[in-house]
Symmetry: C2
Subunit: 327 residues, 2 copies
Amino acid sequence: MNIEMINAAATRLSNLVRCTPLLNSPVIDKLAGRRVWIKPECLQITGSFKFRGAWSAISALNPEVRTRGVVTFSSGNHAQGVALAAQTFGAPAIIVMPTDAPQTKIMSTKKMGAEVILSDRDRKHQEQIVAELSSERGLTIIKPFDNAEVIAGQGTIGLEIAEQARKCGVTEAEVLICCGGGGLLSGIALALEAKAPRLQCRSVEPQGFNDMARSIALGDYVRNMYTSGSICDAILTPEPGKLTFPIIRRLCGSGLVVSDEDVLRAMVIAFEQLKLVVEPGGAVALAAILFQISEIKGDDVICIISGGNVDAGVFVNALTQFGMEND
Amino acid sequence: MNIEMINAAATRLSNLVRCTPLLNSPVIDKLAGRRVWIKPECLQITGSFKFRGAWSAISALNPEVRTRGVVTFSSGNHAQGVALAAQTFGAPAIIVMPTDAPQTKIMSTKKMGAEVILSDRDRKHQEQIVAELSSERGLTIIKPFDNAEVIAGQGTIGLEIAEQARKCGVTEAEVLICCGGGGLLSGIALALEAKAPRLQCRSVEPQGFNDMARSIALGDYVRNMYTSGSICDAILTPEPGKLTFPIIRRLCGSGLVVSDEDVLRAMVIAFEQLKLVVEPGGAVALAAILFQISEIKGDDVICIISGGNVDAGVFVNALTQFGMEND
């Protein structure tokens, strides 16, 4: 893994992904007590950053191999990225998704032409189904984070942040990143190491699923006790990735943790102040900026909003609980 | 009014407004039966395009005059634009707003330091209050659309569209624009006349408030029968503007009209497919693209989403009525 792979992924992705803007909001600055710069990957094609990594990996395959098709497991955002990339190449895609994935993610993945197989959230079980499908049907496995080309694709966000932060006059800041297996975090950390080394990445996870924060603190792999039980469906991975964690351990600061309730509050603030639809797992970094103020250093902070694929019912609940104060 | 004024406004606005992206969505293309290009001004500072015109007008004032302060009437988006621009210049601002304006607009205008005076929606009454405040306190009136510098500021969106459409390979298309008094429509139409004359602007209004469509059809001013009764609070103006209508009559195609129910549906589709929070008045052009398909010509269509300042309760109602089908 190196910056050249990220640059190459950026070339393959040019004209296909949106260079999402770097937004700010005076009201959020005030709430956070510092200048906040927000990279809204909910505005990315497929509603999350995951198309970057999926396209990067699938476009890097040998065309003959690619034509046979791809298979993966995903809670729904990587699913849509892989489905759209495969569909664009005319290749079949099978995605193993958890039964409790948001309906919007399951529907959208199917609409993009992928075959969806529902399974429980047990990662070993999911990996077994994927391995069997791969060997039976000759499909290439595109893992959601433990794949070098996927990490390189997510790293293209780091290239954009380095350039955009420079234009905004931000040379030193923490960069808070929603974290499941660490594909987004490790990719951006690698890109910033090369392009803006004074921007330091930190993971943000939901309470009870802070395997990355604990693994960073220990310097070794720690597993979560549970596989479900947070609203942040996109980032409930069991443990850090084999490819991602060595990069994260080397480059990232300590991890942050937020409550589901603060995640809902952050979603409402994004609704009110940014006019963005953010899914729970995509709001953890913003939640940390708003509600873990003393855990963050510096006058500027950057964060990723990683996705916006949320069921209407969940969004209504967030607005009903925390959004009616002004009504 | 001419393109030089719009270019000058763009210079005064540079580094202050966001150049909002031109988004597209494969699902929306499919629903609309053509390629749809969406300019999301809900992502603009203050949550609507109105900051462009307000800053353009207030920055063009003689500094001595500006220091005494400004006054205007507005249902809430122009209010926020004027409030923020005045606050930035350290000038006082008084805004007359209707009592039934969304709470989020009233709160936000006050937070930006403006004094808010609530009144009914009767335009004559509002203009009278504004005129009295102006003469009593020496405040300059910044009308929401019948002001040449306001129109020039809104026209900067047209400059961006001309450039962005060219990059997307779109040389001929209708440009559907949410329309109240016509400041946005006339400004963009003037800019496109100069920069991309094969992009033709058309107004979109809510049912019962289609004074612009009827005025265009008649070639003379027609008034609405009512002053309230649609959810599209931002664009319920009584009749076309004195400055805007001559420009619109000369440059724009026939006007489109949409129902409040289709507006709510369009808000839900923007939530699902674009991850954008859109207010009712900001969604009328998208609603026309989705639900007035046979009224539109060509393979490509461009539309403005003009704002996202919607109360949580209204958004919840939209999602509850039309967004739960997949849940």
